[in-house]
């Protein structure tokens, strides 16, 4: 079984903050992830039977759509939920690994799989309650989100591009990347302001990634125009009133 690194003082915890209020479910992060990671550190991500009856492959980030109707509410709500590795502080997928292939990096908390030592036993995917690991059937190893380890420190990129492919792609700006170990970082402040939350906190794995909840919708304002109550007069009177109002000195 694999042990976790001892947390350092001010431990850096790189992760994602995903805004469920803004995600429209466009799949940009999913396909950008697929295309980067099929040629980068995780390369290649398999696709089996891609043009056949049941195409399926390894995706390190998948988007699910749920329709939720809370009791007592008139309308349902559709929530798009991107799902990838949460880079837990106490990841069972690491501790369960028999070879040490699954590990948590000491310097930034990213959870990775070493393909050289992964034996494809799938214990980690059983251990992960978030379903965030993807078995690559073509290559017999486990794949997972690396937070684009080959982008975020990549010196071939300019500074602003050293972010995960999913974050760079996101058209609505619903994905944020940063150090959640630093309470002053932009992502930590966002979590504080918007009530960011952990997935399944009761499991005790302490996910680093956070989700921002959908905002309260403002559909029920008791907004009315001054004269909005039905006027108890016939249409002609309303029209006369209106034309009296509009008949004024105007200039072009």
């Amino acid at each position: 079984m694999t042990s976790l690194p001892t947390p350092r003082p001010n431990q850096k915890k790189l992760g994602l903050v995903i805004d469920l209020d803004t995600c429209v479910g466009c799949q940009a992060c999913a396909t950008s992830c697929k295309e980067w990671n099929t040629q980068g550190y995780s390369a290649p991500l398999n696709d089996s039977n891609p043009y056949g009856a049941s195409p399926e492959g390894a995706w390190l980030n998948r988007i699910h759509g749920y329709e939720v109707k809370a009791p007592g509410e008139d309308q349902s709500r559709i929530v798009h939920f991107p799902r990838s590795c949460l880079h837990c502080e106490e990841p069972a997928c690491v501790t369960v690994c028999p070879t040490g292939a699954s590990y948590k990096r000491a310097e930034d908390g990213i959870v990775l799989v070493n393909p050289e030592t992964c034996i494809g036993c799938k214990l980690c995917s059983w251990a992960c309650p978030y379903g965030a690991r993807e078995y690559d059937y073509d290559h017999g190893v486990m794949k997972k989100c690396t937070l684009c380890i080959d982008r975020i420190y990549n010196e071939n990129f300019v500074e602003e591009d050293r972010i995960p492919a999913c974050v760079k792609a996101c058209p609505t700006g619903a994905r944020h990347f940063g150090d959640l170990g630093d309470s002053e970082s932009k992502v930590s402040r966002l979590v504080a302001e918007r009530g960011g939350y952990d997935l399944l906190p009761e499991m005790g794995y302490k996910p680093v990634n956070k989700y921002l909840p959908p905002r309260q919708r403002r559909a029920d304002e008791k907004m009315q125009l001054v004269q909005s109550e039905p006027v108890k007069r016939d249409g002609k009177a309303v029209m006369d009133d209106f034309f009296r109002w509009a008949d004024r000195l105007l200039s072009r």
């Binding site: 694999t2 466009c26 907004m223």
Partner: protein
């Protein structure tokens, strides 16, 4: 345990090239990472004005499109029966010689017997010009079945449009109302905009029968009944008028609200504008006490009153007609609530929110500007309400008028091109409507002769129609005839049926480019394929003798071609995204772009535009040949992009013109222009100075600049046409007035629908169908990750969505005793399909819907014949009639908007019956399309 050492600075590429995406119509800037000439990764270009670095689900899957096994690899000539999939490979020279021989014969005998229609063409600047040079009026792209209602309603009303011609002022708006936006249109610009609104906490209201995508994140979803948006928007106007919450100053200054309309029922001038001897419309001046030219700046126009003109005729300001219409009970919230499926109180509240935002949260930018009359203003006042609308409005047969009502709502609130409102994108605004008229009248189509003008334009009176003396259509699609007078984008959806019925005449060559007309772009697919293969009973020849088709992929349409001209993928070609075509400009300034080949084709394919120029030269078309008869653009499309001048000093690209590359807009040819574009990331953007970023319809400095840039002819203000006189001219003609009147059978329809005031009418098919027999509306929308049929052949995208379902309201499903996964028959007056259902809450209870263009014909697109797209997926197209039911006299109109000819996809009515004990395969199934050697996947197999 020690951590493995990882190289975090992997360089998996050896080169990065910029170009323009083509995975949908957005045309975002992309950076393509290459290794040894292979595409490795595609990302958004941060410097690009359209997408500013982001990319969508489709764009990031472009690599799989580029390497798709469905790519065509060689010119093919049909050898078996049409549709049999039996082709033989031929060389390009043979293909082009054959095409030339067919086309030359047509041109020599009667050029209109060529129907040249291009689907999702991004080179209409070239293709339209080619048709003009050839001399056929039978040209259009796919706008007639996409969004012509939006384009036409906007251009005729305020010289701009939703769609790509404008955008909400994302930075300043405080309230955003979104109508009927299917999720593909537009892609990244809307997503980026919504993200900005979310950051600022701006309220987003989505009016849409279906709550997915953008509607899912809206603060408020209004699940309207399809086709009733005009009533809802009309009721908002009703409330604003009744509560006196409209911008009278804005209406007086920028619209024709004060223009006097003659009241002379039964007379030939009834409903036309009163004009002076110079033909200028008149207003009544409150101070001077008599009519004056509406073009004068120093007037005090009355909006209310009835006035007597010098010649004794009576007239009233058009504003009174508008106000009377929308104050009438027809548009009262209580009256429309049930039809729209929106509570009265909600309508009132939305109207109140609009009014509060527009008038109490007025916005003021401290930027001075000069109006059209030269008056200086020290600030720009904004009414921060913005709106956007697309296909949910346009794909109904009342879409033109509905869209006019939406624009009326915007204009009543004073929100067009003001801070926080809806902003134009260059080259708009243009005069309402733009001045260009369609060519192709009798006598203008002559053997071996170019048309005297472009085939598409803007009709303003019966004199502009393309009809003969008997009133018969001159175009194969009947555009610009009495059947579709304002058909600014043509009616591509009618071409095949009309040609097969030789109505109004037969054609010799059908020449199509990237339009899947035998499948997801066809109404009534079975009938359309029958038309494509129909033979003349006497001669045994195909009624459409020759079909030439160019595409990059083995779509369903490819199988019905006689001659296949294989196109390149978007990463293998030059292109120009030109201001002469559909612009990619931003509200802050004009932009254009190019595609450059980032990889060389590995197949025997040629870019369609280069092929078209080659054909033009072989045919000896004037613009494409030099005086000595040699090709004018021997270097292909890239040669044309640089060296073509549409008029002196104006070419396809606006950036870096002139020999030194220092001019923008106008300038001589710059031989190094493409290099300059590539250096700049393949795009050009010219940011306007602040004082010309708003009020551009009336901003003198803007109008002068736009006129010097060639966007408009003269720097005159653009006056919004709330009351649309051209429609009244058609109505008068249908009442028997004027030199050109419609044949008797069309008159009633024109009188009914050519209403000069914006107004909602019931969709045509709906009005003709039994609503008890067909109680449900059936509509489609596109998923964000797919763009028509290209998406579902893509190895990654089809893993996300490889089949579609029919969605219906949970309440309706329970009524029909349906559960998720049940099979149902969906029955329309035309046909029936068998599909699988899912229930949901976020849909209007009278509506069923599905994702568009996921269903494939078995065997197409190099997918295996048992692909879920074919066996579980389906199209609603089979249910949609291309013609409306017969009227008196047996005549059948096309299933289109009566004003613009826009295909009325969303008018469909159906009923649902549970299908039990049948196979778990969607129906109908068509014979499996045979693969052939000229498809990459087949070649390898």
């Amino acid at each position: 345990m020690t951590q493995p050492k990882i190289d975090t600075s992997l360089k998996t590429w050896d080169e990065i090239k910029t170009t323009t995406c083509y995975m949908c119509a957005c045309r975002c800037g992309i950076k393509v990472y290459l290794k040894d000439g292979t595409v490795k990764y595609i990302e958004g270009n941060r410097d690009h004005p359209v997408n500013k670095g982001v990319i969508c689900g489709k764009g990031a899957s472009g690599i799989m499109q580029h390497y798709s096994p469905a790519r065509l690899s060689k010119p093919m000539l049909r050898v078996g029966e049409r549709g049999s999939g039996e082709f033989r490979e031929i060389e390009w020279d043979e293909a082009l010689t054959l095409a030339t021989s067919w086309l030359a014969k047509v041109r020599r005998e009667d050029p209109k017997r060529l129907a040249f229609f291009t689907g999702r063409d991004q080179s209409q600047g070239l293709t339209g010009w080619w048709a003009t040079q050839f001399g056929t009026p039978n040209y259009a792209a796919h706008g007639g079945f996409c969004s012509v209602n939006m384009a036409a309603a906007g251009l005729y009303t305020f010289g701009g449009s939703f769609w790509e011609f404008g955008e909400p002022d994302w930075k300043h708006t405080k309230y955003f109302l979104l109508f009927g936006v299917a999720e593909d249109h537009a892609s990244n610009p809307i997503k980026i905009g919504l993200g900005k609104l979310k950051e600022r906490g701006v309220k987003i209201v989505s009016v849409n029968p279906v709550r997915t995508g953008y509607s899912a994140i809206a603060d408020e979803w209004i699940g309207i009944r399809p086709g009733t948006d005009g009533l809802f928007a009309g009721a908002l106007i009703h409330e604003l008028l009744r509560n006196q919450k409209i911008d009278l100053d804005y209406l007086t200054r920028y619209t024709n609200a004060a223009w006097l309309v003659i009241r002379n029922p039964g007379g030939a001038d009834d409903g036309t504008f009163a004009r002076n001897a110079n033909g200028e419309p008149l207003i009544y001046d409150a101070v001077i006490g008599r009519p004056l030219s509406a073009h004068r700046a120093d007037t005090s126009p009355k909006l209310v009153g009835e006035f007597t003109l010098v010649d004794g005729r009576h007239a009233i300001p058009s504003f009174m007609l508008l106000a009377e219409r929308f104050l009438s009970d027809d548009y009262s919230p209580t009256k429309v609530a049930e039809t729209c499926g929106i509570p009265t109180q909600t309508i009132r509240r939305i109207a109140a929110e609009l009014a509060r935002t527009a008038f109490e949260e007025e916005l003021c930018l401290n930027i001075g500007w000069r109006d059209w009359a030269g008056r200086i203003h020290d600030k720009m006042i904004g009414r921060p309400v913005s709106m956007y609308a697309m296909r949910g409005i346009s794909a109904h047969s009342n879409g033109f008028q509905t869209c006019r009502i939406l624009h009326l709502l915007q204009i009543m609130l004073g929100t067009i091109d003001v801070p926080g409102g809806f902003r134009y994108r260059a080259p708009f605004p243009k005069p309402a409507p733009p001045g260009v008229k369609p060519a192709g009248k009798p006598g203008q189509v002559k053997p071996n002769t170019a048309l005297p003008g472009p085939p598409l334009g803007f009709v303003t009176a019966p004199e502009d129609l393309l009809i003969d003396k008997e009133g018969r259509p001159q175009r194969i699609d009947k555009a610009y005839s009495w059947e579709a007078p304002f058909a600014a984008h043509g009616l591509m959806h009618t071409v095949i049926a009309n040609a097969a019925k030789r109505d109004p005449y037969g054609i010799d060559v059908l020449f199509l480019y990237m339009a899947n007309m035998s499948w997801n772009s066809a109404m009534n697919v079975a009938e359309t394929t029958a038309h494509l293969t129909a033979k003349d009973e006497t001669t045994g020849d195909y009624i459409i003798p020759h079909i030439i088709y160019s595409d990059a992929y083995a779509s369903e349409m490819v199988h019905y071609a006689d001659l296949i001209l294989p196109d390149t993928t978007y990463l293998e070609r030059w292109d120009c995204i030109s201001l002469l075509d559909r612009p990619i400009s931003e509200a802050d300034g004009p932009a254009d772009a190019i595609r450059q080949p980032v990889v060389e084709p590995d197949r025997d394919v040629r870019p369609f535009q280069t092929v078209l120029l080659d054909l033009g030269a072989r045919l000896g078309l004037t613009g494409m040949t030099k005086e000595d008869g040699t090709p004018r653009y021997p270097g292909g499309y890239e040669d044309y992009i640089v060296n073509h001048e549409r008029s002196p000093v104006i070419g396809p690209l606006a950036g870096w013109r002139g020999k030194e590359g220092v001019f923008h807009g106008r300038g001589d040819v710059n031989p190094k222009q493409l290099e300059r574009y590539i250096e700049n990331g393949c795009h050009w953007f010219y940011e306007l100075p602040d004082h010309v970023k708003y009020y551009r319809h009336a901003n003198r400095d803007y109008l002068e600049w736009a006129s010097s840039f060639g966007f408009i002819g003269r720097p005159d203000p653009i006056i919004f046409q709330l009351y649309l006189e051209p429609l009244q001219k058609f109505r008068l003609a249908a009442q028997g007035h004027g030199a050109i009147v419609p044949p008797e059978e069309h008159r009633q329809r024109i009188v009914r629908y050519f209403d000069p005031l914006p107004g909602r009418h019931e969709p045509l098919e709906e009005a003709l169908r039994d609503k008890i027999e067909f109680p449900l509306h059936a509509i489609t929308q596109r998923p964000m990750a797919m763009y028509h049929s290209w998406g579902s052949q893509n190895a990654w995208l089809r893993q996300i969505l490889g089949r579609n379902w029919l969605y219906l309201a949970r309440s309706r499903g329970e009524e029909l005793e349906l559960c998720d996964g049940d099979w149902v028959q969906v029955i329309s007056a035309t046909s029936r399909i068998k599909v699988q259902v899912k229930l949901m809450d976020g849909v209007n209870p009278h509506t069923v819907w599905t994702w568009n263009a996921i269903g494939k014909r078995s065997g197409a697109w190099a997918l295996s014949p048992d692909a879920p797209e074919a066996k579980k997926g389906f199209l609603l197209n089979h249910l949609i009639a291309e013609l409306l039911p017969e009227r008196d006299g047996g005549y059948r109109y096309s299933n289109s908007d009566p004003v613009t000819g826009q295909a009325a996809w969303y008018d469909l009515r159906v009923r649902i019956e549970k299908a039990e004990g049948e196979s778990e395969i969607s129906a109908p199934q068509f014979p499996v399309l045979k693969g052939f050697k000229g498809i990459v996947g087949r070649r390898r197999a």
